[in-house]
Amino acid sequence: MSFQVIGKVLPRKDGIAKVCGQEVYPSDIVVPNMLYGVTLRSPYPHAEILSIDTAAAEAMGAIVVTPDDVPDVIYNERTVSIPEKTYRDRRVLPRRARHVGEAIVAVAAETEELAFRAMRAIKVEYKVLPPVLDLDKAMDPGAAPLYEEIYLGDDKIEVRNNIACERIITVGDPEAGFAKADHIVEREYELPRVYHHQMETKTAVCRPEPNGGITVWATTQTIHNVRQLLGHIFGIPLSKVNVKKLAIGGSFGSSIQMNSIIPICVALALKARRPVKMVSSREDDIYDHAKFPARIRLKVGVKKDGTIVAADMRVMVDIGAHQINAYPLLGCMAGWYASLYKWRDFYYEGRAIYTNKVPACAMQGYGNPQVNFAVESHMDIIAEECGFDPVEFRLKNYVGIGDEFWGQGPTVKSIIKSCGVEEMLRKGAEMIGWANRRPHHEKSGRYRRGIGVARGFHTSGTGGPKPGEVIDYSSATIKINEDGTVDVMTPVMDLGGGTGEAAVKVVAEVLKVPYERVELSPVDTKTTGYDVCTHATRGVYCGCGAVYHVAQQVKTKLLEFAGRILEENPENLELAYEEEKNVSIVHVKGFKQKQITIGEVAKLAQIYSWGTIAATDSLRQKNCPPCFVAHFIEVEVDTWTGIVKIPRAILLSDTGTPINPDMVAGQLIGSLSRGMGYALYEETEYDLATGKLKCNGFITDNKIPTSCEMPYIDDIQVYFAHTYEPTGPFGAKGIGEAALNSVASAVANAIYNAIGIRFYRTPITPEKILQALEGGGKVGN
């Protein structure tokens, strides 16, 4: 397929502003007469708040908001799921602190320093409650309950044994399936809590408006959900709530939900009757969210010929103090599991447990890297125990074209129509030299190299033929200006992955307009239709899907106006890009001499008072196609120091048509770094005596790999499978989360191939490697 701009490497629309420091992020917003807000956060993991003395702070001129001052609304900050499947357990400020670092009181003053000093003058009387910090003890009958009751939709429900929610799914007859197996492998895996480590901490700025409304500038992945939730909590009509779309300094999923400081900022601004700005410190942020940890017990039955016949997966998730998206997570984890291999008959049980820790939420992959680590480690274990080649064993059992894919749990499914799994596994094996891979027992010496494979996927959006538990559609407005340039208004947040450029390219391609003559408009919730959120790797497939849909309507209108001018039937007209003159024209099919530029059409439509060539509409994608990935990674383990280096990595992706190929490669390479962090470095550990993070909220003791730990760029190879997704804009699927999902699994499999030690828990630190080598592994010194 040949395209005019799709698949071309072109300058980012926000590139110049970003490299010149001119791009506006929420923390850059300055509103006249604004105050600065800070929060007082709980020092205890579990404590009732008996009283709050704000007199000293108020005497310093500060505005103080306590739990008594906020609306008595219990909500869930993530409103992506339909209301009846949404668990609600929190208020803007709680009457009981449930984790260290939970905001209890908010303070605004003329400067941030004064606000901070006033905050320290507030006296809170706590009744300290026994904390629940250990997943194993959380469900004991004697464990302190975090909640007596919470809400599911409109129903009040009781919480028993700190179980927040659970999902149990059976497909076929797993027991009969296992009975057919020649070999059964069962293992337990554990994935840690890690911090999102997005560059930008959270900001909220709220300006109360004279009409009783509010304008909000905030760090978010969804301006419309923030708007609706603020309207609901504070009882303000949506027509008076406006949330601005701004650049975001990375998110990794940490802003899918309305960030905790946004409603706090609104409460302060409404009480102060002045604009208020809040910028989280890094420690506020580390104490605000984390990736879902997971403990996964997996059992798989396989026949002698390598056919899988049954599987059983039991998942426990320590979700921390609130339910942000635990219930959909458990469904999604079931889906990632169900869609990796053809288990035939299988069972799934997922349980989310409340503890007095930082609330966990989605982070790049949403349960997928966790499930992938268990399943892809397991596939290697089975292959070794049964004597299968790991690549061939995967090829024999993977879920591919014509199979059903669970894009967002058991209620969002569609049939796979494009798939590059075989191409990627064959190509990757060839590129890494799989045929020459030696088993670990043939290796000795201090430095040992190993090669690992893992494959995975993520969904592209949460659409499907039927409405499921998750809301998914997007909107766009496109208009052709009177000189033939084009304005695109999209509510879709670009999290840095290039969704904005993709939207511009889609419009340019449909209308045959040069890339530089299409621009993204600054927008907000008042000027755009609804978009659910940039999550679930849906920006390009769903967001740009809507843009494609609306661009087609604009094209129809353009051809109609051109037909009137040229006195031709619009059906007899087509669009073309004239490279020599750098203009876009409408011409008679097969007869280019009869033509008019689209700028002339738009100008004449204005002069003749026909109207603007524009359209607004929404689109729901009816599919959730998987974007597949495969990782072939080589490691070098220093058996004397336990240090693991990655001398070589092959990153393969099936993203359909790569609309921004440079940024697809960027996603894959960036995710290699994050996956290395997940495999080898990161964990936010708790002091179980105090409930505090061992890093105290500081990145000094919360290290992630940087460019220094990465392989040299020449040693990273990126490969795109040759696929075309028939339901995506110009054949495109997503990539963002897929890029990460099998990295840690491939690293762990490579470590096994190097030293013959299977790690069931990440991060695989040098300390753990040395300990394992001493405790049974063979040491070659």
């Binding site: 020092p43 000093r117 410190s281 506020d284 004397w640 120091t641 336990g642 890093c695 003791d701 300390e767």
Partner: protein
């Protein structure tokens, strides 16, 4: 939370020293109430965390007389406010003082090195200070001034405990002085962190002199494995006057690792430090020996 790392919450008086006498007079007057500010890469962090709350901050980076690297008579003299970046870029240090160069190169990120100073690294007196092991093995001496006068001490007497040195509240570190590196001498520094730009889990420096195949003198210092950066004298004495062989290196490394007293903290475990200090000492010894022109 009691911190806000965007804010220096406590009030203090900021004093900017224009010359040494003025700074020493302030120190004599304010003593424990004052803190010296140079690069601020340690002090400001501690202030933000509320660990120290000085009433007076005395800024010394404006005093040009404290910022120099001199290499005239064979001795290397480094002024206390010389930044880590200046040291890293200095050709003589890069060419002759390998352990110091490698230590500074391994430290932090560029922005921190552009601000942080060698005097500050010593003044902070962290057991993990990366410049400490090289200065210990070079037998450096420190020039320390107060209003009463100037004294010079060997660096081996400088560190007292975690975050503690012999600097009195009225004293200022002026200069680090390193004796001439003789011919057939080699030095090296190695460090393990969690990631590249990190505080050390373990660091080690070696400086040895060679005569033919014999190691005539050797100094070894570890950091981050005891309450202070420390010399390991038993290991040193095992090597001195001996013909250097692989076996001897192994033996000395074992002895060195047996002398340290590591703890488990956020960066690593006691067990790991005990095991791996031996490994990196072996490597540091080999590197220093080779740089001294020796073969194994």
């Amino acid at each position: 939370m009691e911190t806000n790392t965007k804010i220096l919450a406590a009030e203090f008086q900021y004093l900017e020293g224009q010359d040494l006498d003025q700074v020493l007079a302030w120190l004599a007057e304010y003593r424990e109430k004052a803190r010296i500010l140079a690069g601020g890469t340690d002090l400001l962090v501690k202030m933000k965390l509320g660990h120290v709350q000085p009433e007076y901050i005395i800024y010394i980076k404006k005093i040009a007389a404290l910022n120099y690297i001199q290499y005239d008579t064979g001795n290397l003299k480094i002024g206390a406010t010389t930044t880590l970046s200046q040291i890293e870029r200095h050709e003589t240090i890069k060419g002759y003082y390998s352990a110091l160069y490698e230590a500074v190169r391994s430290m932090a990120a560029v922005a921190v090195k552009n601000m942080g100073t060698i005097g500050g690294n010593l003044g902070n007196a962290s057991p993990a200070a990366d410049t400490a092991p090289p200065l210990l093995v070079y037998d450096a001496s420190l020039k320390i001034a107060s209003k009463e006068g100037v004294r010079e001490i060997p660096i081996t007497e400088y560190f007292v405990g975690p975050g503690k040195s012999v600097l009195a509240p009225n004293e200022l570190l002026l200069e680090i002085s390193i004796p001439e590196i003789e011919a057939d001498t080699g030095s090296s520094f190695l460090k393990l962190g969690r990631v590249a730009a990190d505080i050390a889990k373990i660091n080690v420096a070696v400086c040895l002199k060679r005569s033919g195949r014999t190691c005539t003198s050797c100094r070894i210092a570890f950091g981050s494995v005891a309450p202070i950066p420390m010399r390991v004298r038993e290991a040193e004495s095992l090597l001195e006057g001996k013909e250097l062989t692989e076996d001897l290196i192994t033996l000395a490394a074992r002895a060195g690792a047996a002398e340290i007293k590591p703890i488990t903290d956020n960066r690593s475990t006691r067990e790991y430090r005990l095991k791996v200090s031996r490994v990196i000492l072996e490597e540091a010894l080999r590197a220093a020996w080779q740089r001294a022109g020796g073969a194994l």
